[in-house]
Symmetry: none
Subunit: 412 residues, 2 copies
């Protein structure tokens, strides 16, 4: 028995006036997804606990069975891992942006005009050569996609208890990084970071790539902003907990990082972009193939969340319909007698508020021996009437492992 | 966005034979309350956890989002606070009764014939002059309503681990207060209390007010019974947790005490009495007005619990119908596009057993963006089919804060 878990990022929503108070899921035409609900057992799920809005990192930890209240230790390390950086235990990691500032260090563009990978790579080459502000602290810096980058600090006496240098909006000055508690480690880390950011700024502001950018009317990437300090969570990998082989199909670095920490194989899919234009079918193919060699596969789609943060419920509906064709392909190509398929969202993202919200998400599980209920359609409200009732995110993995015969009995 | 939570004390019930096995909620005519269920999302809620009968104090802590298993520290301090006594951190407080005993200290009347406020005040004046049995321990004693009073012990080496002096029924002797654990603090506190009660008895038994009472055929208030030792719970106020302004409309001192601890503003309403004859509309008006200046308002009605403890299900139905007109007023006077309204009970009180019971209570939440379900009527059984499923008391506050945009995201 195998399990394939499909997670559509931020797919759940609240009722939308323009849709006659339906949610995008309720408004979309999605026969294959509805078939999963019809043939399966449904429920609603609180990623963290009722009413608590989840991030994608905490929610994915939870969906993989790890209590984020115990194990979450910030975004930075998960994202750096997801980008393929060799993060080690104890490293303190940050999510960074190439940004544009004026001479008074006021932020003009938090993404340096969504700088090209090419320009960012050239700048990064020289940032790597900067001498660390302290001989006991090493740093790794790596640009990832466009304006995004990761920074890893390595060495003794480091702390994650430091503030961000990203003011969060344009027109404000770059923030001084401050210790968030009274420990000498937090003060030390804040000092290192402030010094390093200054050194980076010095290299960037006179860099020839930026001279070229200004010449062509592009905003210079003359500052690095950093936020989301984090360490690798200390968790047991899935193969140790359940004795399974597990893989993930995901593009989003934060999700890949969580899966990496859980010991899952990270699969790459050509044409998968993490955007609404991603190659849904290519992802489905990879996931189906991965089931041959794995007990458990996580297939993550980012696009639903992107549309929600843009408040674009029409696009969200279109993306759900594309996910439906992805599900159709999966239903046609997996051995349904030996496979459990589950579909959920990692959290609710409201097209109205454009934010993550704490409302529960729908869940359907189909497969040979589920206690099929009488829910016929997949949606936030229909699934609430299902046989699974209302469960917590951390309950899902034990439920799936139980279905595929990988749950260990507790007691005699 | 704002939230108004209406809590009807002990409103939930069990099916009653004389009502054709309906509950009072199911038997009452309550179009406005049913409208809340119809327009909203419903569920059932376990104040503490399934099957555990809650007190009004633990249940209210829970409904405000504080886990009573972690934070509850006895009734005494909450009630004393609710009466307006200046309770300090560390004080050990008791709920007291003026009672009537005979010469062998056998209790004749636990409420001294529900002594008048006037007589109780006069007696209290002289009790306040009693010298404390130990120089390191100060005491405050205050009569509140009729036979009710509060006692506060202040000083070092005090403990809440002491038994009650109230035998709980007439015909039994006043109980000696005993330490409930082996600590020197518990023994010390028990000794102080026994000594103080003896001193109080000495003052009361020969007091001229009691001589007058006997002359008029009234039972003398010649003994103070004390119970419910408690300290102030160490909790963060709501404004620190959710960054909200919160107020409460409640008469019952125990509820007011909990709200005070939660940092809520305590509002006073002329004509609100905590009895079935309370001015329901005046309370509704105050609550609606309070929404102008607050993000969250708790409106508490005691009367349903009073009728239940009397086993008077007909009166309970009448009170529910009065609460319905209160809800009608609220629906007519709040801005429904910007307000979430929730209605629940703090616990089940059975008219048959006349006790608090551990059955779950119904809950309805209406407001602009709830996932309206197909529940049409508000009741213990109808709400169990609602979209909220079965939640815990401590889940309610995060759910409401999520709806009004005051929940903080956990993760990235």
């Amino acid at each position: 028995m195998k399990a394939l878990l499909i997670v559509a990022d931020g797919m759940a929503d609240r009722p939308i006036k323009e849709l006659g108070w339906k949610t995008p899921l309720e408004a979309a035409r999605k026969p294959s997804i509805d078939y999963m609900a019809d043939a399966g057992i449904c429920g609603i799920l609180d990623p963290i606990s009722p009413g608590v809005p989840a991030g994608s990192d905490t929610a994915t930890l939870s969906l993989l069975g790890y209590d984020p209240l115990k194990y979450y230790s910030g975004r930075g390390a998960l994202e750096a891992l997801g980008w393929g950086l060799k993060v080690e235990k104890g490293d303190v990691c940050f999510r960074c942006n190439f940004a544009t500032v004026d001479e008074s260090l006021t932020v003009i563009d938090r993404r340096a005009g969504r700088i090209s990978n090419d320009d960012a790579s050239k700048l990064t080459e020289d940032l790597k050569k900067v001498k660390s502000p302290h001989r006991s602290t090493k740093f790794l810096f790596q640009n990832t996609l466009q304006h995004r980058a990761a920074l890893v600090l390595r060495g003794p006496n480091l702390s994650t208890a430091v503030s961000s240098s990203d003011p969060g909006k344009v027109g404000e000055k770059v923030s001084e990084i401050k210790p968030l508690n009274g420990s000498p480690e937090a003060s030390f880390t804040a000092k290192i970071l402030n010094d390093l950011m200054q050194k980076f700024h010095k290299v960037l502001k006179s860099h020839k790539v930026n001279m070229e950018r200004v010449k062509h009317g592009l905003p210079p990437a003359n500052m690095i902003l950093c936020r989301g300090a984090g360490r690798i969570p200390e968790i047991k990998p899935l193969h140790e907990i359940y004795r399974i082989k597990a893989a993930c199909v995901a593009v989003t670095s934060l999700i890949r990082g969580v899966c990496k920490v859980a010991g899952m194989q990270l699969l790459n899919v050509e044409g998968a972009t993490g955007t609404p234009q991603t190659d849904y079918l290519a992802k489905a193919k990879t996931a189906v193939q991965a089931l041959n060699e794995n007990d458990f596969v996580l297939l993550h789609v980012k696009a639903t969340d992107v549309a929600s943060h843009d408040g674009d419920f029409q696009q969200k509906i279109e993306i759900i319909e594309k996910i439906d064709s992805m599900v159709s392909f999966i239903l046609d190509h997996v051995n349904i007698d030996e496979t459990y398929l589950a579909l959920t969202a990692d959290h609710t993202t409201s097209c109205a508020t454009r934010n993550h919200e704490g409302d529960p998400v729908p869940l359907a599980i189909m497969g040979p021996y589920v206690r099929r209920d009488d829910v016929k359609e997949y949606g936030e409200r229909s699934c609430a009437k299902g046989g699974l009732g209302r469960i917590r995110g951390i309950n899902l993995m034990p439920i799936l492992m139980n279905l595929i015969g990988k749950a260990e009995k507790f007691g005699a």
